[in-house]
Structures are given as structure tokens and as C-alpha cells.
């Protein structure tokens, strides 16, 4: 174990190296570019024993990752925003192909106008592709989550690709102390199939409606099963490395809270400051941080929020024509609960607009009347 002062992107790259990744195919895009640069440096210097394919597009990056994963290697890539959108077709393909690709995504807004800053709209719009989605709140978490993502994704009961998301610049380019090293946490990847010339298999040929529905149902069921695997992985990681890194969700000062802030990504860490401040003012506020957005931990969310009077959900993305995606999911999870709290949705920080703990404080105290936290309160 070693302690380093590194950016979120460096943490992602080091985690890929320490996870024993064998093939990387990637294309640079701000703000995830430094992940690719760092991997290229490590591969060239021999620090990382992987094949790096410097493809011409994100579409090809994910295609190469799927091909490499399907032929037995542990693979990794990183992207952001337009790059992720360009991959969209292959994101579906990776999930149906059951290739446990792990990808770092430095969240960024989608143009026009060109905006390179934090916004979770890029990954939220890939919600239904079948990928597991983790949203990190610190650089330590980025490192730990990439590593744990392999264990979850490659579990035989799961076998799904996973994206490890973190707010662009807020985390991707900000240096924080990170403890690296994973000991014996990951074993070598053993694919459930291999390229066999004696008993050859055809992969991905025409599938009739009978089989296709079974395939999709199986993807769905694997997501449900993943919740348990995620909890087990979180525990195993803590017992082996001594680091607690929440993988499903995190409860912060929630036990006796009357009001819960529900947040995701970097806004959740800013919310912790707001919670502490409000507590000092005598207000019973806590935080529920959603770490895993797919599979969505509905049961755990209900359990965490049933005892509060009000839940204020903050989204850093929006579904035009409806509302923030996290807000929708929280409401949906609580629908069947008899003790559901009042649920208020707020949208903040789109395109990298700063979200300060003071703004969160004001939002929670009801000083912003509509659902938008537009104002940067310093």
C-alpha cells in the first residue's frame, strides 16, 4: 500500500494497472484524456503489462474492448461525453455480449455549445444499456471502484460491463491523497468461454424472439443478482485492504435525520459539508449517497429513507420533458412504501456550474422555491 497525491484520472489509470488489465483500447477526449496518456506512458515504460490499441474513435475503442474481452482478456477503457455518446451502439452490444468491460467515465456535458465541464447527463443517458454504473465522490473511490468493478463485473452470476463515473475536472483533474495497492483482491480473469478451434462456437448470430427475450431477461436478472455481489465485494475489499469504499450506497448522519439530502457523484461529497454545517445549526439533516445507479438499490433506498420526513434529491443531469433522473428513480423506489417521505427534486451544477455547500444548504432549507439550484452561492 502506498499513499500518493494524484488526480482522479491518474487514480483510474493506476487502478487499471493494478487490476492486471491485459488489453486497453482507447481514444482521448477531455476530461478523461489523461487516463489514456498515463496508460500509454506506463505501457511504454513497462510499468503496465498490457496491449494498448490506439484506435481512431470511441466506437472502435469499445468494439476492440468487446473483441478482446470476448477472447478472454481483462480490458479497460476511458471516455467522456461525446465519446460515450459515440459508443452508444457498442454499450448495448457489450451488455448483451456479456463482456465484463470496465470503463472509467469522467462525466462531462454534451454540446452544443461545447462544454467540457462536469455534468452527469452523458452517463445518465446510457442508463438503459445494461451497464452497471458506479458514481464516485473522491479520487480514492475512483481507484477502489475500478478495482472492485472488475470483481463485480466478472462474477459468473453477473458478467456485465461496468462504468466507473466521476465528475469531470471536479474529480478528474483535482489532486487528492489516494492509497493505492490491492494486494490479492483480484484473481486472473477466467472468461466463461474461450476461442476453441476444436469445438468452435459462433458468437452473436441471429437470435429468434424466443431466445432474445430470454437473453434480455437474463441480463435483467443478473443486474438484480449484482446487488448482493456488490455488497459482498464491498465487504471483501474492506477486509482485505482495510479501506471502506461504499459500492452500493452510503448513509451519512442519517440515523436520526428528519431531512435527507439524496445526491450522487461529487455533489454528494459537497453535501456532506452542508450536512455538518446544518447539524451545527441544530437541524437534523443527513445524506443518502447513491453510489450504484444501475442496478438501482431500491430496497436499500427505501430502508434508508422511510424514517425521514423530507428527502431533497439533487441531480446533476436532467431528462428534458420530465425531471432529474435520480429524482425519478428515488420516487419510483419509494412509491410502494407506506412511510414514504415528501420528496423534492432539485437540479444543480449542469455543465460544470459550481455547486457549493452553501447552495446545497439553501436548497435544503427551502430558500430556492423551484427545482433549480442556479445560483452559485459563495
Amino acid at each position: 500500500m502506498e499513499r500518493k497525491l494524484i488526480t482522479g484520472n491518474q487514480a483510474a489509470a493506476l487502478a487499471a494497472r493494478d487490476s492486471g488489465v491485459e488489453v486497453v483500447a482507447a481514444y482521448p477526449i477531455t476530461p478523461s484524456t489523461p487516463v489514456v496518456e498515463e496508460i500509454a506512458r506506463m505501457v511504454e515504460s513497462g510499468e503496465m503489462d498490457a496491449r494498448l490499441i490506439l484506435v481512431e474513435s470511441e466506437h472502435s475503442a469499445m468494439a476492440a474492448c468487446i473483441g478482446a474481452s470476448a477472447s478472454g482478456s481483462r480490458v479497460f477503457t476511458a471516455t467522456s461525453s461525446h465519446g460515450l455518446a459515440y459508443m452508444h451502439e457498442l454499450l448495448h452490444y457489450a451488455a448483451n455480449a456479456r463482456t465484463p468491460v470496465v470503463m472509467a467515465v469522467a462525466n462531462r456535458a454534451i454540446g452544443p455549445g461545447w462544454n467540457i465541464w462536469a455534468d452527469l447527463g452523458d452517463t445518465m443517458s446510457q442508463r438503459d444499456t445494461g451497464w452497471i454504473q458506479f458514481y464516485c465522490s473522491s479520487n480514492q473511490e475512483i481507484y477502489d471502484t475500478v478495482v472492485m468493478a472488475y470483481r463485480v463485473a466478472e462474477d459468473r452470476q453477473v458478467l456485465l460491463p461496468a462504468m466507473v463515473c466521476y465528475d469531470g475536472f471536479v474529480l478528474s483533474h483535482t489532486a487528492m491523497p489516494v492509497v493505492t495497492g490491492i494486494g490479492e483482491f483480484l484473481e486472473e480473469y477466467r472468461a466463461p468461454w474461450k476461442v476453441d478451434f476444436d469445438e468452435p462456437e459462433t458468437f452473436g448470430n441471429i437470435l429468434s424472439s424466443d431466445y432474445y427475450m430470454e437473453l434480455r431477461k437474463d441480463v435483467f436478472e443478473s443486474h438484480r443478482k449484482a446487488i448482493r455481489i456488490i455488497k459482498k465485494t464491498e465487504e471483501a475489499f474492506e477486509s482485505l485492504t482495510g479501506r471502506y469504499s461504499p459500492l452500493l450506497l452510503e448513509k451519512y448522519m442519517l440515523d436520526d435525520a428528519e431531512t435527507a439530502i439524496v445526491a450522487i457523484g461529487a455533489i454528494a461529497s459537497e453535501s456532506k459539508i452542508a450536512v455538518r454545517k446544518l447539524r451545527r445549526d441544530g437541524k437534523k439533516v443527513g445524506l443518502l449517497r447513491i453510489k450504484c445507479f444501475r442496478p438501482f438499490p431500491s430496497t436499500d433506498v427505501v430502508e434508508a429513507l422511510e424514517s425521514v420526513d423530507t428527502a431533497v434529491v439533487i441531480d446533476r443531469s436532467i431528462s428534458p420533458g420530465h425531471e432529474g433522473q435520480l429524482f425519478s428513480e428515488i420516487k419510483s423506489a419509494l412509491y410502494s412504501s407506506r412511510n414514504r417521505p415528501e420528496i423534492i427534486g432539485k437540479v444543480a451544477g449542469l455543465g460544470g456550474r459550481d455547486v457549493t455547500f452553501r447552495a446545497i444548504e439553501k436548497a435544503v432549507c427551502g430558500e430556492f422555491r423551484d427545482g433549480w439550484i442556479n445560483e452559485v452561492v459563495v
Binding site: 474513435s57 472502435s60 468494439a63 468487446i66 448470430n205
Partner: protein, 306 residues
């Protein structure tokens, strides 16, 4: 070599779902025989994704990975990297149509060629999107009817094999469904070349070209005899015409007029003499361009047509 020298072992099994008279399946059968058992086939959306059969069956007796339309060259790059990392010896082969090669997959193809990935990319060019029911592609010749060019295509085709020469990859070859032993030999050679290899086969398509299904081989031959399709190899920076195209360039065989080839196909039935003239001019231009590539020996080939 004789056709009887081609191994009997089949990797494209009989009873597959290809149309009668399908050049693609005939050529894939030959290509797989040439490479043998240790082949990994990468297939983008195409007729081949259909005629290999439905899950849980498969007509192809080597490992096959079906991939998305635009990314066969990149998928193959990933597979090759992974197999190399694992120390598995295999020839990774892309088998794609002209839609997946000339149009939607061109970017991935060009990049894989530029990276000189150790893969063999084979394009079976039937000069249209046959799988979706005969629409124009970048490889469709001038004047051809398709379901998106009802009165005939207004533009000449582009040429991806020549683009691959411009990429200066280790091996480029053209072949035709009319000459399977020539195809077999070129694939055998390509198999043993290290780096990116590109082989393009003219693969006539009975329902798309509108000719009787027992004339596929004949169409593949007429295309070469009339200069509409030119057989060549580009190897280690050297370009040379091969087979009948070489004989034509050397004056040993006479070049036939394109009209005979065009009128044998329903897709060209509406052509006027002016249209046929435009195609003649195009063929002439291509001969003269390739003659320049061939250098001194075949420099005179441009003269042949006129």
C-alpha cells in the same frame, strides 16, 4: 494449381442459408479452406450474418464473432491483441461486405490498416447492400439499378483496394468469384504475411444483379474479361497485375467490350449507349491508373482498351 489441389475439408458447412448462386458463400468456403482450422472469423452485419444460420446452429466451423456494422476492423484488432497476449496462434479474419467496408466501416478499416494490425481483412464486394435488399453502396457502379437508385446510379464507384494501396500495407490483392483457385492462392499467401492484409473479391449477387443463379462464376469471369474488375496484387510496395488481367495487359488476351457484361445483368438493362460509353471511359481510366502503378512492364496496358 488445379482446383482439385484445394483441401476437401469444409469449414463452411453445406445446407447454410445463402441464396442459390451466392458468390459470397462460395468464396468464404474457399477462404476458410485456404486458412484452415486456426481461424477466428469476425463478421459485421451482412449477408454472412444471415447465411451462417440461426442460434443455436451455425454453418461456420471455426470460431466466429459477429459484430456491429461499423466496427469489424476494430473488433478484430481487439481479438488479435487479446489472443497475442494469451499466446494463442490464430489468423484473425474479417469477412465483410462492401457496405461494411466501403461505407459504414471505412473509418475503422483505414485506422486498423494504418496501425498495421496483424489481421486479414477480406471484403466480398457485391457492389450493393444485398442484405437489406439491394440498395446503392459506394461500390455500386455507374448506371446500376438498385432500390435507392431506381433510374440508375449517377456516380462511379470508389475503390477501397486502391485506398489500401495508398495505406502502404504489406499485402493488397483483388480476386473474383470467377477464379477460385486464384482467390485460394492469394489467401494462402496473405495468411503468411505479417501485418495488415486486404483482399477484395468481386462477388456477383444473382438477386441484386438480376441474372440467373447458375451464372455467378460466369459473371465473375466476364467482369475480369471486360476490364470492369482488375486482378492484381500489391506486395511489399510492388504492384503487379495477375491472372487474366495480366494476360490482357501483356497483350496475350483480348479485352472484351463491357457491353456484353452489362447487358447480361438486369440491373443494367435500362442503360443507354451514352451510359455504356460513360462506363467504357471509366474502365479505360482505371486501366490507365493501374498501368501507372504497374510501372514499365505494363505501361502499355492503358492502350489496350482504346
Amino acid at each position: 494449381m488445379k482446383i482439385s489441389d484445394i483441401p476437401e475439408k469444409e469449414y463452411l458447412l453445406p445446407g447454410n442459408a445463402a441464396c442459390h448462386g451466392c458468390a459470397s458463400s462460395m468464396c468464404l468456403r474457399t477462404v476458410l479452406k485456404a486458412i484452415g482450422k486456426r481461424t477466428v472469423l469476425v463478421v459485421p452485419a451482412s449477408c454472412t450474418s444471415v447465411y451462417q444460420g440461426m442460434f443455436p446452429g451455425s454453418a461456420i466451423d471455426v470460431p466466429v464473432f459477429n459484430t456491429v456494422f461499423a466496427a469489424s476492423a476494430s473488433t478484430a484488432s481487439g481479438i488479435k491483441a487479446s489472443l497475442e497476449k494469451k499466446g494463442v496462434d490464430a489468423t484473425v479474419v474479417v469477412w465483410a461486405g462492401d457496405g461494411g467496408t466501403y461505407d459504414i466501416g471505412l473509418q475503422a478499416l483505414s485506422a486498423a490498416a494504418e496501425r498495421n494490425e496483424d489481421i486479414l481483412y477480406v471484403c466480398y464486394n457485391n457492389e450493393m447492400y444485398s442484405n437489406t435488399g439491394v440498395q446503392r453502396s459506394g461500390a455500386t457502379p455507374y448506371g446500376a439499378w438498385t432500390t435507392t437508385t431506381w433510374s440508375g446510379k449517377k456516380e462511379h464507384r470508389k475503390d477501397v483496394a486502391e485506398m489500401m494501396i495508398a495505406h502502404d500495407i504489406p499485402y493488397v490483392a483483388t480476386a473474383s468469384a470467377g477464379y477460385l483457385t486464384d482467390l485460394y492462392k492469394k489467401i494462402r499467401k496473405a495468411k503468411n504475411v505479417k501485418g495488415f492484409r486486404y483482399v477484395e473479391i468481386l462477388a456477383p449477387c444473382p438477386p441484386g444483379w438480376k441474372y440467373p443463379m447458375d451464372r455467378t462464376v460466369e459473371m465473375g469471369r466476364m467482369a475480369v474479361e471486360t476490364g470492369m474488375w482488375i486482378l492484381y496484387e500489391y506486395e511489399n510496395g510492388e504492384f503487379r497485375l495477375t491472372g487474366l488481367s495480366k494476360a490482357i495487359a501483356e497483350g496475350k488476351r483480348e479485352l472484351k467490350d463491357v457491353e456484353e457484361y452489362l447487358l447480361a445483368q438486369g440491373r443494367f438493362a435500362h442503360l443507354s449507349q451514352k451510359d455504356i460509353g460513360a462506363i467504357r471511359e471509366y474502365v479505360e481510366r482505371r486501366w490507365s491508373n493501374l498501368a501507372k502503378l504497374a510501372g514499365g512492364v505494363h505501361a502499355a496496358s492503358a492502350e489496350f482498351y482504346v
